[in-house]
């Protein structure tokens, strides 16, 4: 039973989040019927689930809440801001209700009763309609022209034998029956009509081509003609899986053919239909996009898997990759006939499996956005600031572990932006800015990294103030000269908080240093840029995944190292004299001056005895930097393992990996390595 309860809580949490998301969207578009339906449906599901698992309080609570939305969707009640505010408060309360231990808390019960009374009050003015609550609206779906989603369009050729009148059949009745199935367009053809003298009133000369859009199956259409099957030629074919009769172009073209007194024919019908289908679908896709409802989630058939299982899967895949490396090594050392192709297949399969397993644990960053929207909404109300939250690139996908660890630091940054960044409305107007402040969240891919930017158009940071403060706090010496970037970097130092007044919202002792630390824990980097009076942008750079990377295995002084492949541009062979005789650490490659570092030298190792070395060109900021190694061993799929807490101060390696021969190779963080060496040398 406990198992079921856990499952219920898991599902309910998800439902509540979904509801919150829909409510926030509804606030922007209060007339959107689809959203109202969605909110209603989610509440209904939640109610059903909670009654099934014995969460009576939640059932009762949601039941009353549901009534309100039932009235809203039946247009008996207008969706006011008050309703949305109350519902959002209820959403918060519902989250707490999942923890039954809360029921003993008197504060909790006060909130509970207060909200309950409020809900009843909202629903009360129209108490009579309560009896209707929950009963579905008759015919709502059938008459609603927008509900064409499940409809298909059929082409029907109905060509009765001329003797059909003899058994008392009136073909027009059949057409009426067809019309009851859905929307129809029928075209009668009279081209078989004889001259008046030859006309026999007992015979049928007419035949029809009919287009029918219906949500019924083809069998039901056949049933209409069941009594005349033997008396006519009948051809029923599905020409489109959407309703294309709304498409004016399709109708126009059909009518054009009809006007030439020709039959449309199944071939033409199919051709025209397929063209219109894509148009209709396209239009629909756009509508859906506008509604900002994620149909992808709805349509994708998916299953629910516990994240523990996914973690185990990833671990197993990692082990497999390591074992496969051992196998490859064994193969290269032993000449066993027929082994190599097998090893190569295993290598290919494990790579595919790895990529697939990765895809599974990647989730869109969208999962965080609802929380942020809510935060911005609530905070801006609390601070009496008018702030708009814009989120871009929310479909950017990241490793689940990264997303889980990202929420807190991002919340903190957002709080800072709202509290310290965005000015009061009056101040903004005085400074000639739009009264409404903007906080923008943007995520995008950049190579093997994901960049997340949070920017506000607030007052920005003053480098001079920060500098003074740092001097005052003894963080830097007064005589030290710093660039603007270095000054902004100071805010990430422990014990540095620019807020002169500690508020409830930000500046609770946890500063930007914690943000940086938390992001560093997931291998990320934080940067800040700001312009006084214009706003601040915080950029976070994150790896796509934490567990396996494609790397290049290089050798330095008989030790293997891994350089992430994503950072590498090119590899050159180079004479060692060029390296050791260079004064300014610059080398000309492909006609360009490239700064380089000899890793032997930087790692405090003796110079190489070989004449030829190799230089690996890697991305650094917007340029390239060469890293000199003894030689390149080859490509390697590196399963990243942490170096452990004892090496926490050593950030030039992002981790280690275990090679096929069982030894450990360090994985370089090229950015940090270059930064560190550039710093030392200057």
């Amino acid at each position: 039973m406990d198992d079921f309860r856990t499952k219920f809580i898991e599902e309910a949490t998800e439902l509540i989040e979904k509801m919150e998301d829909a409510l926030l969207k509804l606030e922007q578009a209060p007339d959107d019927e689809n959203l109202i339906q969605l909110v209603f449906r989610v509440m209904h599901t939640l109610k059903g689930n909670s009654s099934m698992f014995g969460f009576e309080q939640i059932e009762k609570f949601t039941h009353n809440l549901e009534n309100i939305y039932d009235m809203v969707r039946n247009q008996q009640l207008e969706l006011s801001e008050e309703i949305i505010n109350t519902t959002l408060a209820c959403v918060d309360h519902l989250k707490n209700m999942l923890d039954e231990s809360n029921y003993e808390d008197s504060d909790f019960m006060t909130t509970h009763n207060g909200l309950m009374a409020k809900i009843l009050y909202i629903a009360n003015p129209d108490a009579n309609s309560m009896s209707n609550a929950g009963s579905p609206q008759p015919d709502a779906a059938g008459q609603n022209p927008t509900s064409s989603d499940e409809q298909a369009t059929f082409y029907i050729l109905f060509d009765p034998n001329d003797s059909i009148f003899a058994n008392g059949t009136n073909p027009l009745y059949l057409l009426d029956e067809l019309a009851e199935l859905g929307q129809i367009k029928a075209y009668a053809h009279f081209n078989r009509l004889p001259e008046f003298e030859a006309y026999n009133t007992d015979l049928c000369y007419t035949y029809w081509e009919i287009f029918l859009s219906t949500d019924k199956e083809i069998d039901e259409i056949n049933e209409v003609f069941i009594f005349v099957e033997s008396d006519c030629k009948l051809d029923i074919q599905k020409i489109s899986d959407v309703n294309i009769l709304h498409n004016s172009k399709f109708i126009e073209e059909i009518e054009h053919i009809i006007s030439t007194k020709n039959d449309v024919g199944i071939a033409n019908a199919l051709q025209l239909a397929s063209r219109s289908t894509s148009q209709v679908k396209h239009a629909k896709a756009e509508v859906v996009k506008k509604e900002r409802i994620n149909t992808r989630d709805k349509n994708a058939s998916s299953i629910r898997v516990s994240s523990d299982k996914l973690d185990s899967l990833m671990n197993l895949v990692s082990e497999l990759v390591i074992t496969q490396a051992r196998l490859s090594l064994f193969d290269s050392q032993h000449d066993i006939h027929g082994l190599t192709p097998i090893v190569e297949s295993v290598q290919k399969l494990s790579r595919q499996l790895r990529d697939l397993a990765f895809g599974i644990v990647l989730i869109p960053i969208e999962n965080l956005i609802t929380r942020f929207q809510r935060l911005v909404r609530d905070l801006s109300m609390e601070l009496h600031k008018d702030v708009e939250f814009i989120a871009e690139g929310t479909d950017t996908e990241l490793d689940k572990t990264i997303i889980d660890n990202l929420a807190d630091p991002l919340m903190h940054i957002l709080r800072n932006s709202l509290d310290h960044g965005i000015e009061d409305t009056n101040q903004r107007i005085a400074r000639g800015k739009p009264a409404k402040g903007t906080v923008k969240f943007k995520a995008y891919y950049s190579g093997a990294s994901v960049i997340i930017q949070i920017s506000d158009d607030g007052k920005g940071m003053d480098p001079d103030t920060i500098r003074e403060k740092a001097i005052q706090k003894g963080i830097i010496a007064p005589e030290r000269k710093l660039t603007k970037k270095e000054i902004f970097d100071l805010i990430f130092l422990p014990g540095f908080s620019t807020a002169t007044k500690v508020t409830d919202i930000s500046g609770r002792g946890v500063g930007m240093d914690v943000v940086r630390k938390k992001i560093a824990n997931i291998q990320g980097e934080v940067d800040v840029d700001s312009e006084l009076g214009k706003g601040t942008t915080i950029s976070i750079k994150l790896p796509l995944t934490l567990s396996i990377i494609d790397g290049l295995l290089v050798n330095i002084n008989k030790t293997s190292y891994v350089i992430p492949l994503a950072a590498i541009k090119k590899i050159y062979a180079i004479d060692k004299d060029l390296i050791y005789k260079s004064f300014n650490n610059l080398i000309t490659l492909d006609g360009e001056q490239i700064p380089f570092f000899s890793l032997r030298k930087e790692f405090d190792l003796p110079p190489s005895e070989e004449q030829l070395e190799q230089i690996v060109m890697v991305n650094f900021e917007d340029n390239y930097v060469g890293l000199v190694v003894d030689y390149v061993e080859g490509e390697y799929q590196a399963v990243l393992k942490p170096l452990g807490r004892h090496y926490k101060n050593n950030d030039i390696f992002s981790g280690a990996t275990i090679l096929g021969n069982g030894t450990v190779a360090l994985v370089m963080d090229t950015n940090k390595i270059i930064k560190m060496f550039a710093h030392i040398n200057h």
Partner: protein
């Protein structure tokens, strides 16, 4: 030291660094390995000898001699890596410690553990749980959590004095003739 509960084992692993004998509670010891090839991590402190593969995980290895501020020596066939499970800010962390040789697992009863001598201020109390005298030799019982989670060289004594602690203690004991050190057997 707080009074120990009866179910906590009194077993200690003793090992040698130079002339000194040290003991670590067996609860802290996971494994004893032969010295094997380590992957050196550039730019790390000298006592951080590198990392090794321990059943698929990456194990950081510390040279205990350097860590304690002693002179490094060549590794011999007696050199061992003691795999420890230490507590770092509440998390359990595995770390390997290179020691000159591993001696034995012995029983030291709680009442046999003596507090730091009166001149204890000369020793860094946070690293040493106490002493035990067995077979006329002093064994220093280390607080492995403190020693191996510290970020620096953890000299056990303050100042540049390099006299072996045991010798000093023995000398101290004979001169002071205190009744604290009860002999075993």
């Amino acid at each position: 030291m707080e009074p120990l509960t009866s179910n906590k084992s009194n077993s200690y692993l003793t090992f040698k660094l130079g002339e000194e004998q040290y003991a670590a509670h067996v609860d802290k010891v996971l494994n004893i390995l032969e010295m094997s090839k380590l992957t050196h991590v550039p730019k790390a402190p000298e006592y951080m000898k590198g990392v090794m593969n321990l059943r698929g995980a990456v194990l950081p290895v510390i040279d205990a001699r350097i860590k304690f501020g002693m002179e490094p020596t060549e590794y011999t066939s007696n050199t061992c890596i003691v795999v420890l499970d230490v507590d770092m800010d509440g998390d359990s962390v595995h770390v390997g410690a290179i020691v000159d040789s591993v001696q034995a697992v012995i029983e030291i009863k709680t009442e046999q553990i003596l507090p730091l001598p009166t001149l204890g201020s000369r020793y860094k109390a946070e690293y040493i749980i106490g002493m035990a005298k067995l077979d006329e030799r002093f064994i220093i019982i280390l607080n492995m959590d403190a020693v191996f989670s510290a970020d620096e060289i953890t000299k056990l004594k303050i100042g540049a004095d390099t006299t072996p602690i045991a010798d000093e203690l023995a000398a101290e004991e004979t001169s002071a003739e205190t009744a604290t050190g009860e002999k075993t057997e």
